[in-house]
């Protein structure tokens, strides 16, 4: 006798966790390319300004090993200098994360989550170029164990693991991350150069240093490795939206929130309150985090109304924290942590309205 289910769905859309992983990787490739090119370029510029490589720095040693002339950086030398920064961080993150994931998968007798490839990439791209090896291992191990493994693996955690990893590194080692002699723009916090300049001298300071909005949009400035180029992030966003992995409601809500909050502060005026909304979008690591981390379906609201609400809340909180809290000029990571944690609450409220409508209809 053949056993057959009561009803069976005979066809499937082909949507699977494997498909989601493929599309995510495709989406992040433009950012990866931008990260390699810009990090290499900025590094060689910084070495040039310094008048030579720093003594005792292993990345400088590697770049010198490839016999690169920093005085007139060309295409190949930029790419090599970029790869010297991106590949080791990624490789160490993969090793640390893979080891922890292997332990969990074996002990819990579940399949190895191949999504750690994407987690490690996100983590790498949110690290400053001069990050220390120990910090990578610490952050990635924390991410896989605390933010993913103990919840049962990929797609079951309530916070994005890469976000948790980056947050723990930023919280634990704020000084070490932000005071690398070659990456002067990062002084004081791990964000981007525009934001640092703005905090010191307003928009005139940004303009004076030769940075305009388009440059910030294209990503030609110092910052976290993957988060400087908003253009590359937008290409990734298109892939995620096309593949229906990211929710357009969540992204549109964020845009709305940022415009709303920034406009209110513009009216009040004074200091960083004057920063217009379109500068908020291209400064710091916001664009990257908004597209790749905030839209993670596992850690964002799971109802359409909830997605709007969460997006708007995220946009407003981001501007609010950037403007009102001097100790977090970038403030993307703490805001994302906070907003991700509100997702169940937001869904709960949406559910309450749904249940109430049903009750009222019943009379």
């Amino acid at each position: 006798m053949t056993l057959i289910n009561a009803t069976t769905v005979h066809i499937h859309s082909g949507n699977s966790i494997g498909r989601i992983r493929r599309l995510r990787l495709l989406a992040i490739i433009p950012v990866l390319i931008a990260a390699v090119i810009n990090t290499g370029y900025q590094y060689l510029l910084a070495v040039q300004a310094n008048g030579g490589f720093l003594a005792g720095e292993w990345r400088g040693g590697l770049v010198q090993f490839f016999n690169i002339d920093y005085s007139s950086p060309g295409g190949a030398s930029i790419v090599i200098a970029g790869l010297v920064h991106v590949i080791p961080v990624f490789a160490i993150a993969m090793l640390a994360g893979g080891f922890c994931e292997r332990l969990f998968a074996d002990n819990r007798n579940r399949p190895f989550d191949k999504g750690i490839l994407y987690t490690a990439l996100l983590f790498t791209l949110l690290m400053p170029p001069g990050v220390a090896v120990f910090h990578i291992i610490f952050g990635m191990a924390f991410a896989i164990i605390v933010a993913q493994g103990i919840f049962g693996g990929e797609g079951r955690a309530f916070l994005n693991p890469a976000l948790v990893g980056v947050a723990i590194v930023q919280i634990s080692f704020p000084a070490a991350l932000t005071s690398h002699p070659l990456w002067t723009g990062l002084n004081g916090y791990a964000g981007s150069k525009e934001l640092a300049l703005y905090h010191q001298q307003n928009l005139e300071g940004v303009a004076w240093s030769g940075l305009d909005w388009w440059q910030a949009f294209l990503g030609s400035s110092q910052g976290l490795m993957g988060s400087t180029s908003v253009l590359a992030v937008l290409l990734g966003a298109m892939v995620l939206l096309y593949g229906r992995i990211a929710s357009w409601r969540l992204l549109a809500g964020q845009l709305l929130g940022v415009i709303l909050a920034a406009s209110v502060f513009n009216l009040l005026g004074g200091g960083i309150r004057d920063l217009p909304w379109y500068w908020h979008l291209v400064m710091g690591s916001y664009a990257f985090a908004a597209v790749f981390i905030a839209t993670d379906p596992s850690s964002s609201a799971a109802t359409n109304a909830g997605r709007w609400a969460q997006g708007i809340l995220l946009g407003i909180l981001l501007v609010l924290m950037r403007v009102l809290n001097d100790s977090h000029p970038d403030s993307v990571i703490p805001v994302l942590l906070l907003v991700s944690m509100t997702a169940p609450l937001i869904d709960h409220i949406v559910m309450w309205f749904n249940i109430r409508r049903r009750e009222l209809n019943r009379g």
């Binding site: 057959i4 009803t7 069976t8 769905v9 699977s16 966790i17 409601r249 379906p297 997605r307 949406v350």
Partner: protein, 410 residues
Amino acid sequence: MPSPNFDTRSSRTSTLLGREYPGTKFQIITEEGARIRAGEAVLCDRRRPEILFTSPVSGMVSEIKRGQRRSLVSLKISTEGNDQISFEMPAKPDRDNMRGLMLESGLWASLRSRPFGHIPSPDGEPEALLVTAIDTQPLAPSSAVIINQYNQEFSLGLQQLCSLVDAPVYLCQSTQDSYNYDNSSRAMPVEFDKPHPAGLVSTHIHALGLPISMVNEVWHIGYQDVISLGHLIKTGSAWHHRVVSLSGSAVRESRLITVPLGASLEDIVAGELVDGESRVISGSTLSGHSAVGYEDCLGRLHHQITAMLEPQAGQPQSWFSLLFDSDYTGRSAPLIATSDLDSVAPPGILAVPLLRALLIGDAERARELGALELVEEDLALLSYTCSSGTDYGPLLRDILNKILREELTL
């Protein structure tokens, strides 16, 4: 009844599947080897013996298959001869007489109620009666073509349905089709636009704002059962055929055909399929059943036969696949809450919260989120879309049974 436009195919057997009537405990009032005529009762509901299930063909009961706790799995009748029972028409077509006629002729069993999708109680009164004259399942036949062909019977059946209940009767149609029948009854036409799930009863219930709870029921009936009722009124015997679409990638020539109720699909598709391994499904690819073994029959509520070519299995895994795909065999893959789940959910239902409640077996939450408005077929599109590959239909039925049990013990 003549059906000039559609090929008529015959079948050697006719099968009645027990599980097509959820919530019904059958009492068998015939025995293996007994001779029966078309329209004669073979089963009744043990708890409500006035609900009868009649044979659509004349012949001999060839096999009665029982399952767990002596439940009925299937009852197979071998076709032989052409004897038919005629029913006497009531003198006055009022509510009680009509209900009596439908019960006697076995047509009552084609009514369904929400919640639960059971056969409604013969003395119950619904909030509304919905006539589903739209079918948006993949490769489903156009209801308008069939209704227009049998417009007299449909009008007659509709009229009698209206005398069955005091509640409003809604006629759910498609906006894209033109229907050509005489609606002199009080049934109110409502139009729905494609795509699927526009043709599902839960969509209609939501759009009409009908309340569903343990005490508020909505009844519904398919358009071909209305034609059958009209035929019963007109000729004295119910229409024991269905017009179904024969389609799918393995079918040589897709078309509409007339087949007996419960017909063996093996007989129907003989000579109709292309070469190669194929899967024959009674119903649509979203909510039908594979016609194999004892389930080789046209489902009671199905209006289509789909035959698909089986995909070639045994491809070696590529290195690319090794890099990304996890093998979740024997365990459930995670439910990734992407927003395309919301776009295929039944209207008014929060897809992800409901699916999560079903996955963890939380009957109370599922009920709050509208599980009572749904049956298995409403979740088919979600099962189709969800990255976890879970079939949510059986999970929903488990939850519905749990709710019913809790309600009975209260």
